[in-house]
Symmetry: C2
Subunit: 258 residues, 2 copies
Amino acid sequence: MASPIPATRTAVPPWMPRPASRGSASQLAVLQKGSSKESFSDFYEGLSEEAGKALQKIEHTVSFPAGAIIFMEGHPARGVYILRQGRAKLLTTNSDGRTMILKIATPGEALGLNSVITGKPYDLTAEILEPAELAFIPRADFFRCITEHGDACMHFASLLSRDCHLAYDLVRSIGLCHSVPERLARFLLEWSTNGSVTDGVVRVKLALTHEEIAQLIGTSRETVTRTLSEFKKQRAIELNGSTLVLRNKPALESLVAA
Amino acid sequence: MASPIPATRTAVPPWMPRPASRGSASQLAVLQKGSSKESFSDFYEGLSEEAGKALQKIEHTVSFPAGAIIFMEGHPARGVYILRQGRAKLLTTNSDGRTMILKIATPGEALGLNSVITGKPYDLTAEILEPAELAFIPRADFFRCITEHGDACMHFASLLSRDCHLAYDLVRSIGLCHSVPERLARFLLEWSTNGSVTDGVVRVKLALTHEEIAQLIGTSRETVTRTLSEFKKQRAIELNGSTLVLRNKPALESLVAA
DNA sequence: ATCTGTGCGTGATCTACATCACTGTCTTTT
DNA sequence: AAAAGACAGTGATGTAGATCACGCACAGAT
């Protein structure tokens, strides 16, 4: 029951996670920060070695196809998911199908942490954007583990603090700056922080549909299309395929400052 | 630098807290839940006795007049404040003076917790609404205390989780339901949960200005005035002085459901 | 008695954006 | 190869609500 099921991208029923591997030795590599870029809101980053190991013994990894729903707003919180590979969007939907994306999660990130801690149902929906791999830690095990490892708790408190902070930022953005151009510019600038600088301009994969951008900044798909072309016309940005090039970053920044 | 100083309500310069008492025996009464209503996001509620006592030994109480700023967005996080008496608003302001209220804090509530934990500057401003008394716990002491008392950390993690949840609710509200009547109805219903039921109708002190309501639901003062009169005309609500009476609760609920 | 500040009530405008309704690509499926 | 979905681009249109600009009431100061 509850909210309508968001459209998926694949014909395959994606809801069921497909088991991939059981966590243990193989996962430990992550502690050595072998893999992807180290986001500093990383689930394991900064955790003590014992606590980390304990958790990794519990977790077990599953993969999901694009479009899969990991968990859904309103459903009981079974446990925490840690995104290992791929990206996911955290969103909320209201009764008439309108959707707002709160955040695009990247590898390392914990999903559903706050719901697991309060014990209330998930307050957001997590949907996979591109084929992904996640580690799952059941609620009960998670609790057992963090009560045994005192230091871990502090770590998770700080992850939660960051989530709060981010949510406040979002409120500021959608509640305070009323014009779409400003919000879009803000978003592009924020997004491009993950990009690389070549020849003085920032390049970054903008692997999102206009619809998704619209849901991130709280506007309609059409308005995103129009505002993006406006930016292109003003030579502030350029779009080669799905690569975004910030031709004139200051121009965007001036929109935000206003 | 930083944001403009919000207007205050008193002629007296309210910025400086006036010391009132040093926490110790007198404060312990709170543990016995002697005072006000017990909000379940209460700072001390659910904390172990030792941890509670330890914290209360550290804290020291200050009073503030209405309009006082406890801390300001962007300023370094000195410590946590616990609201003992009175109410405070947590708000954020953007460069052109527009303000959004995230929450009205009531006694028991912790202010600035997430910033203290991340160690970043306060991400919100806290302003006193009516003469209030607060307990202050300096950041360093707070940390010392929670590392000594493992269980406390879990407690604070759950407070943070609640804050996240609330923030998500707000995003949903301002980002998803586009009509002001709906947001206002939602707000009134939410607000009236603190009210008392007499003769089948809910009565509650709506101790907020239209301006403040506007900043809570993300609209303009004038629109609040107009929408409230609309509600009155439809006999959904009644306003006697600052007492709000929900004459026709279902009517409001139907607006929200849509 | 007057002045000043703060909050409320209302009318008249103006516009940014949502919404609807298409068309044109480009994948993916079959 | 054909059909079916996704996505993107673009015009026309309507309207909710921001904004400006008042007047009024009431509280505290002096």
